[in-house]
């Protein structure tokens, strides 16, 4: 390992940018549908300080032309209703409210939204989200909703070129379960800044997996709101950052009602290259347990595996608790290189070093990929991991 490698991790779980004075916590997060309600960020703000603003293509400061469109395609089937609706549709906004300027920009800018309603036990649905094309910028709005007691699986595939700001709402009705896998399989030039708004009804469950492979800059901000007791959120993530790539995941799980659970596991691997901007991953895990949220049970964990020099992983877990009446709360973060003991063990059984490394990385991601219930997708993603590894010769 060369000394130019940067591994940044924060085992204490709290990082307060400048001067050590805590900013207003996630409890007091500002939200608005109106882009003008947010000041143009300069990059030093707590929520923007990790993001390379110059690479945002003007999505944040009003300079983006929004001259393109991002097509949304939906595979149909029994129990699947896809509608294109106007801004005034009463359902829009039931998932949540933007909390940064790019989210509000996308909200202020969309003309039509796609609403996909899932009812009963439909076959897995695939929704494609196409970038506006190289050099173009666009906004989009997508809402995925379930009816009560529905059990459904949705794959949202982000692909193509250009810069896209969007809001994706997940409105999960009482007693229903939504399994969703969102993949970021963008071309090398793409910029995707996405606010995911998850609203869980009574005894509703979401199992959301976020897969980030492609793009120049991908910044995903999922927020979970529990609108009634008994909700459960399982949030998994897998990112593979190559040289020059910036992959940012900013989660907020807002426990405001009793008897809800959340479980977060995000894993990133990074491989940089000399002479290219560092491969960079950012994981922010904010969990709030408000005074009313008694018997909350929550755990969040971020692991980053640094495969090469010239890579940087930032990890900031943060837990704010306003009640002592909880079932359990924990968080952890670990960033490391290859574990030499693991390599020694595998090699001591005759497995060559390169094969041993591949086994370890496959194993690292296997924990996330093995949970994906759509076989074809899982195999495609496993192949993508193999291709990434073959590329560097890890």
């Amino acid at each position: 390992m060369s000394s130019s490698e940067t591994v940044a991790a924060n085992p204490e779980g709290r990082t307060y940018g400048r001067g050590g004075v805590p900013p207003a916590g996630a409890m007091e997060r500002f939200t608005s549908y109106d882009v003008e309600a947010f000041e143009v960020p300069g990059g030093r703000e707590e929520i923007w300080r990790f993001t390379p603003m110059k690479r945002l293509r003007g999505l944040h400061d009003g300079t983006a032309a929004f001259d393109g469109t991002a097509a949304i395609g939906v595979t149909g089937g029994d129990g699947v209703t896809a509608e294109t609706v106007g801004r005034d549709d009463a359902r829009i906004g039931q998932g949540g409210i933007p909390s940064d300027r790019v989210g509000a920009q996308a909200w202020s800018g969309f003309r039509e939204a796609t609403v996909v309603t899932l009812d009963g036990t439909p076959e897995p649905v695939t929704i494609t989200l196409d970038g506006p094309g190289e050099g173009a910028t666009a906004v989009a709005h997508l809402q995925i909703r379930t009816t009560p007691h529905t059990q459904a699986t949705v794959v949202v595939e982000g692909r193509g070129s250009g810069a896209l700001a969007d809001n994706i709402e997940f409105v999960v009705a009482d007693g229903s379960k939504l399994v969703v896998i969102v993949t970021e399989e963008w071309a090398d030039d793409a910029v995707h800044v996405s606010a995911q708004h998850i609203a869980l009804g009574r005894d509703a469950t979401i199992v959301a997996t976020s897969i980030a492979f492609g793009g120049d800059l991908v910044r995903i901000s999922p927020t979970v709101n529990y609108t009634a007791p008994g909700g459960s959120a399982e949030l998994f993530g897998l990112g593979f950052a190559d040289a020059g790539q910036h992959l940012e995941q900013r989660l907020l799980v807002d426990h405001s009602t009793p008897n809800c659970t959340s479980n977060v596991l995000y894993k990133n691997a990074l491989q940089g290259k000399e002479g290219v901007t560092d491969a960079h991953t950012v994981w922010i895990g904010d969990v709030l347990i408000r005074a009313a949220a008694e018997q909350t049970e929550t755990f969040e964990f971020n692991r980053n595996l640094v495969l090469t020099p010239h890579a940087r992983a930032d990890s900031v877990p943060n837990l704010e608790i306003e009640t002592g009446e909880i079932a359990g709360a924990g968080h952890a973060s670990a960033t490391g290189r290859f574990d030499d003991e693991q390599l020694f063990y595998l090699q001591s059984r005759g497995i060559p070093e390169d094969a041993a490394r591949r086994l370890v990385v496959r194993g690292f991601f296997g924990e996330i990929l093995s949970r994906i219930p759509v076989t074809e997708l899982r195999e495609r993603l496993e192949a993508a991991v193999e291709a990434e590894l073959a590329f560097t010769g890890v």
Partner: protein, 255 residues
């Protein structure tokens, strides 16, 4: 007929205070068909000897030789040593999250045998070996050593021994942390391995109890980083009675 020759082996670890010599001239030859027990007090360097032979990067060999059938083991990478026919059953097997035992065993067997074992016979072979060691088949789908108890880890070390069939096996405190039943199961496994091939065993242990199950041809007392006395099985009985006190003095003198 394989032979492992250790000649005047010196090895050090790097500490904050500089290099610290742990092995101070080890001489030992293990031939196929022989079982050698190395016994010694804590901190005498027994485990270091095992890891140094296997090629753990923590230890630097400063002088001496290790030869397997005349080939210089010290010039080989860790995996080359294993493919050449050396095996180390570790005192603390490493957890590898996300890699299933089944996948690991097949990868190891493929590497050591030089070709992927035929799937049908392989499944049978693994199943039989697991049954011999009273390991539940469900372990095949679990991550390597992850969440295993001490005894389960040791059984899996011997499982690997039985599948990889090395020429020379080094067992580092394989008996530690085992209850009476597990000790019997693990010892039976080692004895089956010995009986099935013309192989050599180097058994490193702190206690004599495993020697009641696996009969040694030679017993060596290890102290101060070297072999200070060698004898037959009767030497173990003497250690059982008198302890290591007599030898720790000798080790200190040697240093």
């Amino acid at each position: 007929m394989s032979t492992l020759e250790i000649k005047d082996l010196h090895a050090s670890v790097t500490t904050d205070a500089g290099a610290k010599e742990i092995l101070r001239g080890v001489d030992l030859t293990v031939r196929a068909g022989e079982t050698h027990a190395i016994m010694g007090p804590n901190g005498s360097g027994k485990s270091t000897l095992a890891y140094a032979i296997a090629g753990h990067p923590k230890y630097q060999i400063t002088s001496g030789e290790v030869l397997l059938d005349g080939e210089n083991v010290l010039e080989m990478t860790v995996d080359e040593r294993a493919r050449a026919g050396l095996f180390l059953a570790m005192q603390y097997p490493v957890e590898v999250p996300g890699v299933s035992m089944a996948n690991f065993l097949r990868s190891a067997a493929t590497a050591v045998r030089g070709e992927a074992p035929k799937l049908r016979t392989w499944v049978k072979e693994v199943k039989g070996a697991m049954e011999d060691l009273e390991i539940d088949q469900a372990f095949a789908e679990r991550s390597v050593n992850e969440g295993f108890s001490g005894g389960e880890k040791k059984r899996h070390e011997v499982l690997q021994l039985s599948l990889l069939k090395p020429k020379i096996a080094i067992l580092d405190e394989t008996d530690s942390g085992l209850d009476v039943d597990a000790l019997r199961v693990v010892s039976d496994g080692v004895n089956r391995y010995k009986a099935a091939g013309d192989v050599g065993v180097l058994l490193i242990t702190h206690y004599t109890r495993i020697l009641k199950h696996i009969e040694p041809d030679f017993v060596h007392v290890f102290a101060g980083g070297r072999v200070v006395e060698s004898g037959g099985a009767e030497l173990a009985d003497e250690l059982e009675t008198n302890g290591y006190v007599k030898f720790t003095g000798a080790g200190a003198a040697a240093s």
